[in-house]
């Protein structure tokens, strides 16, 4: 450089500011609709979300199979016709069945709202679960299963869930080969009529919302009545294992996948925002302690991350990484060492400052644009919370002190409470 380097620019403190609120409405039959108007392009995202996740299933694969079969044929459309029309309108959809909820998210150009809603009704409320498509799907899924179980990351993850939630609960149960033979279309139809029901549905819309959306929703969804559902005992079987360490041998693996973590509090708990800060310091961002130690100082891995997640019945947190086989023990020791330091040594001001700003910057991104807004909305709405949770989180990020971090790390990251799973 020829001249003098200019002075370092001033930095303004970052803050998420005011979060746009969703406008809510109800269809004639009571289905709640939440609308977030945002963005510049004439596109919409619509999430039909049902209380129909894995927590509702009494047989493995039931929730996910019902969800995947929604697009396999309905009263008025075959699967191929349905997909052809959706593709023709340039729509993208993704089906999901999570631990708690299941549904379909559709992205489309606002001008096609009417057509898309008509097709959504077919998929969600009028699927016929044809036998042939069902058998073909199960066969395909079994193949995907074989491929997935060939990855150490999946082996470790599945085992971890079983350890922390138990083999008798849908949160923890691992899918085995034989589960693919235990479903039939009768079971799917029952599950569908119980859980894909208007009283279990919420509709979340964002984007440049077509002006007739609510009346169109009423036309297509407003007259369905609940069929009388079932309320399973969702907690039955939820228990953590007594065995804290599991090691899975995979022949020929080059790397070992490591998962270390435990069940945890959810967003509903007052300590959650503080624990989120602890999680970020430990492994929740690129500059985290685990990344700096295990990747940037020791070069043992391509990446190491920690995450804390809320579920309706519980929550969990874990650290995940893949390291070469010979470095496994070294990496594990360093993970525990970092946790122990977090419990013992107060965080330095500078590091805390970085974490605060990183987290506040993330919050700005969480509310930037129609799609991010919709996701952020659902991730509190699921828990009966609203944007006040985010304001509380932002407040905690700004105000948390080093001694509180140490205390939270001691309470929520007790080494004796942690489960350790390796696969490789």
């Amino acid at each position: 450089m020829t001249g003098k380097h200019p002075a370092k620019p001033q930095v303004v403190p970052v803050s998420p500011g005011k979060i746009p609120e969703a406008v809510s409405a109800r269809l004639d039959n009571g289905i709640p609709v939440y609308m977030i108007e945002a963005g510049t392009e004439d596109v919409m995202r619509i999430d039909f979300t049902f209380d129909a996740g894995q927590a509702m299933e009494n047989i493995p694969l039931l929730s996910s199979t019902v969800n995947m079969m929604l697009t396999e044929g309905s009263e008025n459309y075959t699967s191929s016709k349905l997909n052809r029309i959706l593709d023709f309108h340039g729509a993208f959809y993704s089906q999901y069945s999570e631990k708690d909820r299941a549904g379909i998210v559709i992205f489309f150009m606002s001008r096609h709202t009417g057509k898309i809603l008509e097709l959504a009704r077919e998929m969600l409320f009028m699927p016929v679960f044809p036998e042939t498509e069902f058998r073909a799907l199960m066969k395909k899924r079994l193949h995907w299963y074989f491929v997935n179980r060939d990855k150490v990351a999946n082996l470790a993850m599945d085992e971890f869930y079983e350890s922390i939630f138990g083999k008798d609960h849908p949160y923890g149960r691992q899918v085995v080969h034989n589960d693919f033979n235990n479903l039939d279309t009768g079971l799917l139809k029952d599950f569908h009529s119980w859980f894909y029901s208007p009283d279990k549905l919420a509709i979340i819309i964002s984007g440049k919302i077509h002006k007739d959306t609510v009346s169109l929703l009423n036309r297509y969804f407003g007259s369905f009545r609940p069929q009388g559902g079932r309320t399973p005992d969702k907690r039955a079987g939820l228990r953590q294992s007594d065995v804290r360490k599991v090691s899975i041998e995979k022949k020929g693996a080059v790397q070992t996948a490591i998962r270390i973590g435990s069940p945890s509090i959810s967003k509903l708990h007052p300590d959650y925002p503080g624990v989120k800060v602890v999680d970020v310091i430990l492994g929740g961002y690129f500059n985290s302690r685990l990344m700096r130690n295990i990747r940037e100082e020791k070069g043992l891995t391509y990446g190491i991350h920690s995450i804390i997640t809320s579920l309706i019945l519980s929550g969990f947190k874990f650290i995940s990484t893949e390291v070469s086989k010979k470095s496994t023990q070294n990496a594990i020791d360093e993970i525990y060492k970092e946790i122990e330091i977090l419990q013992r040594v107060p965080v330095e001001r500078e590091e805390l400052e970085i974490v605060r700003n990183y987290m506040l910057g993330e919050m700005v991104r969480m509310f930037d644009g129609p799609f991010a807004l919709a996701e952020s909305f659902r991730s509190v709405w699921d828990f009966g919370l609203d944007n006040s949770y985010y304001y509380r989180l932002a407040g905690k990020i700004k105000s948390i002190e080093p001694d509180e971090i140490t205390a939270l790390a001691k309470t929520y990251y007790r080494i004796d409470d942690l489960y350790q799973v390796t696969a490789g």
Binding site: V12, V14, F92, K151, V254, E322, S324
Partner: protein, 415 residues
């Protein structure tokens, strides 16, 4: 319509600015015109390894991440065969921090042996994690040298093997920096909640003082025309057989690029794509199948790959694939099918451009290939494709002598 302005600094740095006031964020993208195709065949993986080193700090700013994080920013980078691309998003009031950081590391990196050693080992673990320790992870490592005999696309951006990565020396790193990282070899794109005049004056202030460098002129060997079908069979510890077929295509700016892209959408775009409909749903030969073209600047590949259902004979599966592909050579796609793939392209284009970061990355790339206006015209290129163009291109490219085929088989399958 995406409006943008274009400027060039005296040192050759090209700058594009697009204002979008619907967000509170700003994005900065820096594209360096260097990728794995510019590497020495004996020392591959250098461009990508170098991308890792770019986060190791400079004498003036030893901790790149720290300052960006304090400004509420987020950043990442990727390297492919053609380019190395860095990007940052942050609240627009702190945008200048991005200029400070990116101009500083374009100016001069801190080349430490320690940083090099650590990042070599990180990249080797990346190689292991993504290519060696995943079922089918090494397929492209095998296919590239089958399809390319001469052109540097014969190795992937991560490198030909981990040995090349561990052999990199600090001298080579320095040399790589000074011959490739330069204002006159970069494109800086700024998008989001910013004002063009302010963005340009910041660019001048921070990047304007970096001197032009002697960038190595690119002289790559052209890949000779393939004249006979190539086939390879490998055996791995994987649960099911997989089939890979790749055909040579033209360059990114060539006249057939959009037609071939549209052909892959006919074949594999969405659930209603032909391969999925015919070979997964109807004939049940594959559990999944996909096709796409690489967007390589030099003549690239059309790649088709699928995983077989258990018990299906791989030759039989390949014949079925050939049947679907060959149909394109003789039979017009229906008008609704053409309309469908064009609509789908248009909508993915609209969705992609809802993000200021995507817009920044796309603008940079279009500028690099010499046609920045594509950010607005690309949909039109697809709209203009006729059914005759599809038949013509299918006939010309889907020839067996232009194709390399890989049978990726489960252990014990090869007799």
């Amino acid at each position: 319509m995406i409006n943008y302005n274009r400027f060039t600094l005296d040192n050759g740095l090209r700058i594009l600015v697009h204002e979008d006031s619907s967000t509170t964020l700003a994005a900065m993208n820096i594209l360096y015109d260097v990728g794995s195709r510019d590497e020495d065949p004996e020392a591959t993986g250098m461009a990508h390894l170098f991308e890792h080193l770019m986060f190791g700090g400079t004498a003036l700013i030893p901790k790149f991440d720290k300052h960006l994080l304090i400004a509420g920013g987020e950043n990442n980078a990727f390297t492919n065969t053609d380019i190395t691309n860095y990007y940052i998003t942050l609240p627009s009031e702190n945008f200048e921090t991005a200029f400070w950081l990116e101009s500083d590391r374009m100016n001069l990196l801190d080349f430490s042996q320690r940083n090099l050693d650590v990042q070599k080992s990180v990249v080797i673990e990346e190689f292991n994690q993504r290519y060696l320790n995943q079922p089918y992870g090494d397929a492209m490592l095998i296919l590239r040298p089958l399809a390319y005999k001469v052109h540097p696309y014969r190795w992937p951006a991560i490198g030909m093997n981990t040995g090349h990565i561990s052999n990199v020396t600090l001298d080579r790193v320095k040399d790589f920096f000074f011959t490739n990282y330069a204002p006159n070899n970069a494109i800086l794109t700024l998008t989001g909640n910013i004002r063009t005049d302010k963005a340009v004056s910041m660019a001048k202030k921070w990047f304007g003082q970096i001197e032009k460098r002697n960038v190595k002129k690119r002289k790559l060997p052209a890949e000779p025309v393939q004249t006979e079908a190539r086939r390879l069979e490998v055996e791995r510890d994987v649960p099911v057989d997989a089939l890979y077929k790749v055909w040579h295509t033209g360059p990114r700016t060539g006249k057939d690029f959009y037609t071939l892209d549209l052909i892959t959408d006919i074949l594999a775009g969405g659930e209603s794509g032909r391969l999925n409909t015919k070979l997964v749903r109807q004939k049940k030969l594959f559990s999944e199948i996909n096709a796409y073209i690489t967007s390589d600047i030099d003549p690239g590949l059309l790649i088709l790959h699928g995983k077989l259902m258990k018990g299906v004979d791989i030759q039989h599966a390949e014949e079925a694939v050939t049947g679907v592909v060959d149909e394109l050579k003789t039979k017009y796609p229906s008008a609704p099918e053409m309309e469908k793939v064009k609509n789908k392209f248009e909508s993915s284009y609209v969705f992609a451009n809802t993000s200021i970061l995507n817009k920044a990355i796309n603008l940079s790339f279009y500028e690099l290939i010499g046609n920045t206006g594509l950010i607005n015209d690309e949909v039109e290129h697809y709209r203009k494709i006729t059914r005759d163009m599809v038949i013509e291109a299918a006939g010309r490219y889907f020839e067996s002598c232009n194709c390399s085929t890989l049978y990726y088989r489960t252990a014990g399958a090869i007799k």
